[in-house]
């Protein structure tokens, strides 16, 4: 037969890499997401694995579909959900999943309210997720140790089975806060071993948060002026010391409030036509009015 002849003797990984478009995906990720080095590193590794697997396949070497189930852990606002949303797209473009859609669920979507309600509900979600990514946000709610008759256990069992048997059909991503996910894995050891990639999202540094705030503003066609940028930097530094700091989410909220103040300032101070520049500039006073500078988030006085 000709089969032997059609198998290439060597494989140029570089060429494969260029042809697959993986470089574009990784660059895009590098440019659009600030920080998150360990996450990007892991994605590079996964991409490399997928290319090598493809090369092995073309040379007729045995290959097994790699397990790509992931768990994202990290503090609030470190970009877990944002990355999961992109993951579906990335894995699809890497040719790992067939459809590239994302089904995002929480406990409510998986666990039923009465006996016999859970299994069909979970299966329905799994059917919908086939060929794409199933994203389970705050996965630890699935397991309630205080109630031994909780139906969450049933959903977990079905999930584990599908994660094992349909590895090439869907990718399951669990996300949640680090400490609670740890407890969840401890009480469900089967989950930990079926998840190949445990990715920890680090907190953002001050510089990174400042960059993020500028990107967020740019997306909405706003920008800081020079003093505002400086005061934003000190805002981030102060906000970090205070309770309920949620990384990028705190920044987003701060910017939303700054926009309110900017609108109010323009309204009360303007007495003539405004240009686009004035409408889209966040000034120092819009941020300086924050209660973070006047005694903290918990103070009732502001």
């Amino acid at each position: 037969m000709n089969d032997q002849a059609s198998i290439p003797l060597t494989v140029d990984l570089k060429a494969e890499y260029e042809a697959s478009g993986v470089a574009d995906i990784l660059n895009e990720l590098e440019n659009e997401l600030v920080g998150l080095q360990p996450v990007k590193q892991r994605l590079r590794e996964i991409a490399a694995l997928l290319i090598v697997e493809r090369a092995r396949k073309s040379m007729g070497l045995s290959h097994e579909p790699p397990t790509l189930h992931m768990s994202f852990t990290g503090n609030p606002g470190t970009g877990k959900t944002t990355l999961a949303l992109r993951m579906a797209n990335i894995l699809h473009r890497l040719g790992y999943i067939r459809k590239g859609h994302l089904v995002s669920v929480t406990r409510d979507d998986l666990v039923g309210q009465y006996i016999g309600h859970t299994a069909p509900k979970t299966k329905d979600v799994l059917k919908r997720a086939m060929g794409g990514v199933l994203f389970i946000d705050e996965a630890y709610y699935l397991y309630r140790p205080d109630n031994e008759r909780d139906y969450g256990q049933e959903a977990i069992e079905i999930l584990l089975q599908v994660m094992e048997n349909n590895r090439e059909d869907l990718v399951v991503i669990l996300a949640g806060y680090a400490d609670r996910m740890e407890m969840f894995f401890q009480s469900n050891p089967g989950f930990r071993s079926r998840i190949a990639h445990h990715i920890d999202f680090p907190d953002y540094g001050n510089e990174e948060l400042l960059t993020i705030s500028e990107t967020m503003l740019a997306k909405q066609n706003y920008h800081f002026n020079a003093e505002a940028r400086a005061i934003m930097a000190s805002y981030i530094d102060k906000r970090r010391q205070q309770p309920h700091f949620a990384n990028a989410r705190s920044i987003r909220n701060a910017l939303d409030r700054a926009r309110l103040r900017q609108a109010n300032r323009l309204f009360s101070s303007s007495n003539g036509p405004l240009d686009a520049e004035a409408l889209s500039t966040i000034a120092a006073e819009d941020i300086a009015a924050s209660r973070v500078f006047s005694g903290g988030i918990d103070s009732k006085t502001s």
Partner: protein, 129 residues
């Protein structure tokens, strides 16, 4: 006697791979997929039993194949068909329907002619062994 109903019934039975490909075609057209089974494949029996509700929000054929496997497990000696429903006109219309499972021994039908009035004849089909 080989029952011929719906699409592809004059072809050899579809393999799972071919069924998947047909399902992909249905999903590409945004048709919902329903699975039905019966032990009475008489052509006038339009009411087959539904295996669960039609699946309206699938993206990938694998989801429907999972249901089909379940259905085959439970009703291996029945006829199972897959219907694809098109909702373009505001109601669900069957656009495609094909048999995906047959019992090992298929039903046999014989035709009976009955004289009614004058030279009129009526035809009916009865199940025979």
């Amino acid at each position: 006697m080989r029952i011929t109903q719906g699409c592809f019934s004059f072809l050899p039975d579809l393999t799972d791979e071919q069924i998947s490909a047909q399902l992909e075609y249905c999903l590409k057209n945004e048709w919902a997929i329903g699975i039905e089974y019966t032990d009475d494949p008489h052509p006038r029996n339009t009411y087959w039993d539904m295996w669960g509700l039609p699946m309206f929000d699938l993206k990938d054929a694998k989801g429907a194949m999972m249901e089909l496997d379940e259905c085959r497990k439970a009703h291996s000696e029945s006829y199972i068909r897959i219907n694809a429903f098109d909702s373009t006109r505001g109601f669900e219309t069957v656009r495609m329907s094909f048999i995906v499972n047959r019992p090992s021994k298929e039903a046999h039908y014989v035709m009976t002619r009955t004289d009614v009035r004058g030279r009129t004849q009526s035809y009916s089909w009865q199940k025979a062994d």
